[in-house]
């Protein structure tokens, strides 16, 4: 019974992710991506990580994917782009990658099922306080590094987003 609480969102996540990679309309794909992220957030919650679940929604779904949508809207990907997608996405294109991914899937399942202590189950709740205590003590350096990374990304995005980059191309 308990497993259903896990497998229902998991199934939703897998299904919506499959839809993400098959949609031709970017906006629709993004909505499915949000659904996928939300179901993963539910899985997090089920696994006893409520803080991560909240962050998943707030940052992943609430900020990162919004940025995607923002860009999709800025580029105004309308019907022409959907037609172009269907030109790019011929059915034959799926064969090779699908074979490769299936092999990888078999390998992964083999590895995961063959894990030595397969019977250990999850189930402990780890609240925000525990996470915070751990984050700002042994992982302080990682926090600093993440800060550096974000600052670098900020500067990089600012630079890349400027219009003069394209003008420089002209001789």
């Amino acid at each position: 019974m308990d497993l259903a609480l896990f497998w229902i969102p998991a199934a939703v996540a897998l299904a919506s992710t499959l839809l993400v990679i098959t949609r031709k309309n970017a906006a629709h794909a993004l909505i499915y991506l949000v659904v996928s992220l939300l179901s993963v957030a539910v899985i997090f919650f089920v696994l006893g990580a409520p803080f991560a679940a909240a962050l998943e929604v707030v940052i992943y779904a609430g900020a990162i994917v919004v940025l995607f949508l923002f860009v999709v809207m800025m580029l105004n990907l309308g019907n022409t782009s959907v037609m172009r997608e269907s030109r790019w996405l011929r059915p034959g294109m799926w064969v090779g990658p699908a074979i490769l991914v299936s092999i990888l899937l078999i390998t992964m399942v083999y590895v995961i099922v063959g894990l030595p202590n397969a019977n250990v189950t999850t189930g402990e709740m780890v609240g925000p306080k525990a996470v915070g205590n751990e984050l700002f003590r042994p992982y302080l350096l990682a926090v600093e590094l993440a800060g550096f990374l974000l600052l670098a990304a900020l500067i990089g995005a600012y630079h890349l987003g400027r219009r003069y980059l394209e003008q420089r191309r002209e001789p």
Binding site: A49, E56, Y60, A63, I112, A153
Partner: protein
Amino acid sequence: MAIEVPVEHVLLVAAGLFLLGLLGVLVRRNIIFLLMSLEVMMNSAGLAFIAAGAKWGAPDGQIMFMLILALAAAEVAVALGLVLQISRRFDTLDVDAASELNG
């Protein structure tokens, strides 16, 4: 609210998500879909971390997930700037248009 779930079930789901993301990266030519697939892959990695953390009842998994989150945010910020530049320069979103860095 914490439910007992065998850890390999979670890992299987994470593997499934990861592979779907990989499939997306391999198949799609539109750079936006590519980035979305990448997000899916990173998210699946986060799921695996959470599962591992939950298995031991340790917060480290969630911390790793947060670092992945920071990474994803940074990646998206830069990548979307690149998307804008690519769409301006090549007038398309085909990643293969930007293949000048070949050997």
